[in-house]
């Protein structure tokens, strides 16, 4: 039986890698995928405590989070496509202006 704390440590490590990706990455798509990774790390904490407390509510919340992540991915990728059409680059540093 693997203790809950092991899964929590794994979730923190994954969340940290996602944070580093969001901070460091200049590629907009990799940055976006890092956000997805952070969402999944939060999901892992929910499932770990759901298992530990023997309540299935966490599973439902994780399911809803997955659905919302799908919606977020659709809108975010549409935004990236539109930004790329306007500026011909996906370097996030080039989008420092709200208006040009």
């Amino acid at each position: 039986m693997v203790p809950v704390s092991a899964f929590l440590v794994l979730a923190v490590v994954l969340f940290g890698i996602g944070t580093v990706g969001v901070m460091v990455s200049r590629n907009m798509i990799i940055l976006f995928m890092s956000i997805e990774l952070m969402l999944n790390a939060a999901n892992m904490v929910l499932i770990a405590f759901s298992r530990a407390l023997n309540i299935v509510d966490g599973h439902v919340i994780v399911f809803l989070v997955l659905a919302i992540a799908a919606a977020e991915a659709a809108v975010g990728l549409a935004l990236i496509v539109n930004l790329y059409r306007n500026r011909e680059t996906i370097n996030i540093d080039r989008y420092s202006l709200m208006r040009w």
Partner: protein, 192 residues
């Protein structure tokens, strides 16, 4: 070291490796593939925590559908990697970003370390019924106590899909000219 621990260690190492390579990659396609590897390993962790249904959903929906959407966009935009990004950043900027990210992660680690996990979960662990996390149990909760949240999620998905179509649409002139004013369909983009 028993069998459960070995499986956990293997899947955890693969998940962290995939996530690290995802961030470190220059080529976005390779990055997506490493994220899929990480997600499959995370699904193995879910199954270890008796979340069978969610493990399957993670592989099918996340690694299967959403990541393919990412691949579609990367190939639609014809991205290759470093040459698309232009000149790099100054070193001080990079170092600052790493330090800030590490500080956030350390803060989170302290919170998790301070959480009384052992006290909360003492005596509960191991009482899990065999069908915990199955489709039946998740669905029973989802369609009774969480039914409004479930319905609202459906509405949200509809709004998101319509919004994605509106955002990504190419604005064409009113005359119905499919190729745009300059003969290129990509010149007039932008949400009005």
């Amino acid at each position: 070291m028993n069998f459960d621990t070995i499986i956990f260690l293997v899947s955890a190492v693969v998940a962290v490796f995939g996530a690290t390579m995802m961030v470190a990659q220059r080529n976005p396609v390779a990055s997506v593939l490493y994220l899929i590897l990480s997600l499959v390993a995370q699904a193995a962790c879910y199954v270890q925590m008796a979340a069978l249904f969610l493990g399957v959903i993670l592989v099918v929906v996340y690694a299967g559908a959403i990541m393919v959407l990412f691949l579609f966009v990367i190939m639609l935009l014809n991205l290759r990697g470093e040459e698309d990004l232009g000149p790099g950043q100054p070193a001080i900027s990079r170092v600052t970003k790493y330090v800030v990210a590490m500080l956030i992660t350390l803060e989170l680690a302290f919170v998790v370390k301070a959480a009384p996990v052992q006290e909360i979960t003492a005596g509960i662990l191991g009482l899990t019924p065999d069908e915990f996390g199955s489709v039946r149990m998740v669905a029973q909760a989802m369609f009774t106590r969480f039914v409004y949240a479930f319905e609202l999620t459906g509405l949200l998905l509809l709004v998101a899909v319509v919004g994605a179509v509106v955002i990504a649409r190419i604005d064409r002139p009113a005359g119905g000219n499919m190729t745009g004013p300059e003969g290129s369909p990509t010149t007039g983009g932008g949400a009005k």
